[in-house]
């Protein structure tokens, strides 16, 4: 789908040589901190921006220009016509996407009911809360039953209830066989829905794999141990066979294992060695994976730095042009 795509804005390289192929019917998550190039990549897929070099094909066409009606897009910079009535706005968007006006009204009402907004159909868009507007915009992106749905930061600004509702709706679209791409800078969200993750960092693709494979590949081979009373038991744990090293992070013993060591066996060894209140195998989070990739798995001090940078980055607003 994408081949060596590059885009620069003045001096700044926003996207550098991304190769990407998204099979039909899959659910892809684009992750990475703000400013990583997710939105630029998505805008290039949408033919809103054009790459400086490299090739792109969308739904078998050379660019999305020819297949815009088959794509549903929820941009990150999204808005509604303030003075337009909700239902009219949706009808207008659907008609712009080439839908016939026949049967459109009931369809709009049907969707509004699904997101529990039926009662605002006749209200002006400006009367809606931000979360409500976001749901309306989501409807606008799926109303024309597109083959490809691209959602840029669809969860930002939603409360947990609506977040779950939206997650279900996205899953429905996925189950219906549609290709879904969505981006987020909150990696847990990607973990919850996606079956395939593309990680973008500083304009480069740093990861492109299924969630399961990523977990296997980035298995930290670590066990978390809470000791009874929180006492420092580093010494006895280190003595357990197969334990490579132990460090204490926020009161928890992080036990790193030897390469060949079986995790179950190691856990039993630890349980025998010290009084334990809680013990678990550490599963890699995308956040860990991201940090691992960015720092190249070096010293732990760097991890913290990157983590802080990552969290700070998520608070900044994304600026396309410097």
């Amino acid at each position: 789908m994408m081949n060596g795509v590059r885009k620069t804005f003045g001096q700044k390289v926003a996207v550098e040589g991304i190769d990407l192929s998204i099979p039909q019917g899959s659910l892809y998550g684009f992750i990475g901190p703000n400013g990583a190039g997710k939105t630029t990549t998505i805008r290039m897929i949408m033919s809103i921006l054009f790459p400086d070099s490299g090739q792109l094909s969308v739904l078998g066409k050379k660019s999305a220009v020819e297949s815009k009606d088959r794509i549903g897009y929820l941009p990150e910079e999204r808005g509604v016509y303030k003075k337009m009535k909700v239902a009219n706005f949706l009808v207008y968007m659907a008609r712009l996407k080439g839908l016939d006006s026949a049967g459109l009204k009931p369809k709009v009402m049907d969707w509004l009911e699904r997101v529990e907004l039926a009662e605002v159909a006749k209200k002006k868009c400006e009367e809606l809360s931000k979360g409500m507007q976001q749901k309306v915009q989501f409807i606008a992106s799926v109303l024309h039953e597109p083959d490809l749905i691209i959602l840029d930061e669809p969860f930002s600004g939603l409360d947990p209830v609506n977040m779950r509702l939206l997650r279900e709706l996205i899953n429905d679209q996925h189950t219906a066989g549609r290709t879904v791409i969505f981006s987020t800078h909150v990696m847990q969200q990607a973990e919850q829905i996606c079956d395939h993750i593309v990680m973008i960092h500083e304009g480069k693709k740093v990861l492109d794999d299924t969630l399961g494979d990523i977990r296997n590949r980035f298995d930290p081979r670590a066990i978390h141990v809470d000791t009874v009373g929180g006492a420092d038991q580093s010494a006895p744990i280190t003595a357990v066979p197969g334990v490579a090293n132990v460090r204490i992070h926020e009161g928890i013993h992080v036990v790193t294992l030897d390469e060949a060591m079986d995790k179950q066996q190691a856990m039993q060894g630890i349980l025998g060695a010290v009084p334990v209140s809680k013990i678990e195998i550490k599963r890699p989070t995308l956040e860990d994976v991201f940090i691992e990739i960015v720092t190249g798995g070096t010293a732990s001090g760097d991890h913290e730095q990157v983590r802080a940078k990552l969290l700070a980055g998520s608070k900044e607003t994304e600026e396309v042009v410097s």
């Binding site: 805008r43 949408m46 033919s47 809103i48 921006l49 220009v65 815009k68 009606d69 794509i71 549903g72 897009y73 929820l74 941009p75 990150e76 910079e77 999204r78 808005g79 509604v80 016509y81 303030k82 003075k83 337009m84 207008y92 968007m93 008609r95 712009l96 996407k97 080439g98 915009q137 606008a140 992106s141 600026e319 396309v320 042009v321």
Partner: protein
């Protein structure tokens, strides 16, 4: 380019602008109400006339022969009679111009103007004029109205001894001097002055042994409408007013229509951008489709405005029976020039609207555009006076002001040759293409740019970039 999408964008653009209460009231109802209000205002201002002046006029007639005529001329009966005839004539004139309704309005307006009433008192030959003037001053100073309103002194008139008869050959006829109480109605002063002059003349004629009616006959020449000889035959010579009226009306109408459409285009573009709805739209349309749709939609707004105002104007010309002042060709050209002018202005507005974040930022970029729109106003006088001068011809070939200059020339009484009109249209079509091309480039880049408002240099960079 997908035409269905363009039409849908245009439809929404038109509906969201023209189908609003604000637009209908502002653009259509207000002018209609104004048209209805103007006669009403005329009546109101007439009815707000101060009360008629009543009072005494002292006349020191040193010639001893003018007074008799004067006192008759300014007698209440004569004054009233004259005022009534005058009102009737005005109303007849108005009927001829505007039909019965207009005539009635003028008549009722005239009836509000109160007829003044005078008491003419001759003074002794040896009276001290200063004393009479002092009486006015005293009355003014006391502030109170005298018990009998007729005792109020309005004027003191002194007529020279030789006003009607030459006493000394070397000096010729004498004259008169009038002293008025301040703040009298203009009509009152006029009535008194003309009464004195009429009476003095009357005496002079008689003394010279001439018949007044004969002199009037000798002086009067019947007026006939002058004609202009043209290729097709003859036509009424255009009046001074008509020469200016049609071109200036056309110019103003053209500017209003283009500016309205252009302004709305700017506003809706900025709105879409600041609402962040623009990227949602771009997922359905290309920037070119969006811009074209918006420009076409606002063109509809300008056209409907033009259609309404034009029909009002044509209706007015029919009512005044002056339809000859404007030709079908001029009206057709008017729409052609509107389209040309509008597309150039709209290109600039779309480019500006897409480049900025809010209305405030648009102001600085709007200044050159607004200044450019002022140029036709400055050119109005020289162009209308000499529609085919070098200045007029050259300026009518410079887009984007060209359509505005050309509409003045075309609607003037001395229109340019057809080849020039055709050439100007051609030049403007090229201008429109160039303007649209630049606008499309800026529009494409500008729409998704947020942050620092661009200056002209950045705009040029965008044009290169796109």
């Amino acid at each position: 380019m997908n035409f269905t999408k363009i039409i849908r964008v245009a439809g929404r653009e038109f509906a969201s602008t023209a189908m609003t209460k604000g637009f209908i009231i502002g653009a259509l109802v207000v002018p209609a109400v104004m048209a209805a209000l103007i006669p009403l205002i005329a009546i109101l201002s007439a009815s707000a006339q101060p009360p008629a002046d009543k009072g005494t006029i002292y006349v020191l007639d040193r010639s001893s022969e003018v007074f008799e005529d004067l006192s008759e001329r300014l007698s209440p009966e004569m004054v009233r009679e004259r005022w009534e005839t005058r009102a009737m004539k005005a109303s007849e004139f108005a009927k001829g111009m505007m039909g019965n309704a207009g005539g009635d309005q003028v008549e009722s307006a005239m009836s509000f103007i109160k007829t003044p009433e005078f008491r003419i008192i001759p003074t002794a030959q040896d009276v001290d004029l200063e004393e009479l003037k002092e009486e006015i001053r005293d009355q003014m100073a006391s502030g109170a109205e005298p018990e009998d309103p007729m005792r109020k002194v309005l004027a003191v008139v002194e007529i020279d001894i030789d006003a009607a008869k030459i006493v000394n050959d070397s000096e010729g006829y004498g004259s008169y001097q009038a002293f008025f109480r301040p703040k009298l109605n203009e009509e009152t002063v006029g009535e008194i002055e003309s009464g004195i002059r009429w009476s003095i003349r009357e005496r002079r004629y008689e003394n010279a042994g001439l018949d007044r009616s004969q002199i009037a006959q000798l002086a009067s020449i019947e007026e006939r409408k002058s004609k202009e000889i043209t290729e097709e035959g003859e036509r009424n010579e255009s009046s001074e007013l008509a020469t200016y009226l049609i071109p200036v009306a056309s110019l103003i109408l053209l500017i209003i229509a283009t500016m309205t459409g252009g302004q709305y285009l700017l506003t809706t573009t900025i709105e879409e951008k600041s609402n962040r709805v623009v990227e949602v739209l771009l997922s359905a349309t290309s920037p070119m489709e969006l811009m074209t749709g918006k420009i076409v939609g606002q063109m509809g707004v300008g056209l409907s405005l033009l259609a309404v105002y034009n029909s009002v104007g044509i209706a007015a010309l029919i009512a005044f029976n002056r339809l000859d002042m404007i030709s079908g060709q001029t009206i057709l050209l008017f729409f052609v020039f509107f389209l040309l002018a509008y597309f150039m202005l709209a290109s600039m507005m779309a480019a500006i609207g897409s480049a900025v974040n809010d209305m405030r930022e648009a102001q600085s970029l709007m200044t050159p555009v607004m200044m450019m729109m002022m140029i036709p106003y400055f050119f109005f006088m020289p162009v209308v006076r000499a529609p085919n001068s070098m200045l007029s011809t050259v300026s009518s070939f410079v887009p984007p002001i060209s359509p505005f200059i050309m509409i003045m020339r075309v609607s003037s009484t001395d229109p340019p040759p057809t080849w020039q009109i055709a050439a100007v249209i051609l030049v403007n079509i090229v201008g429109v293409v160039v303007f649209l091309w630049f606008a499309a480039k800026v529009f494409r880049v500008g729409l998704l740019m947020y942050g620092k408002p661009p200056n002209l240099r950045t705009l040029i960079k965008w044009i290169r970039m796109a």
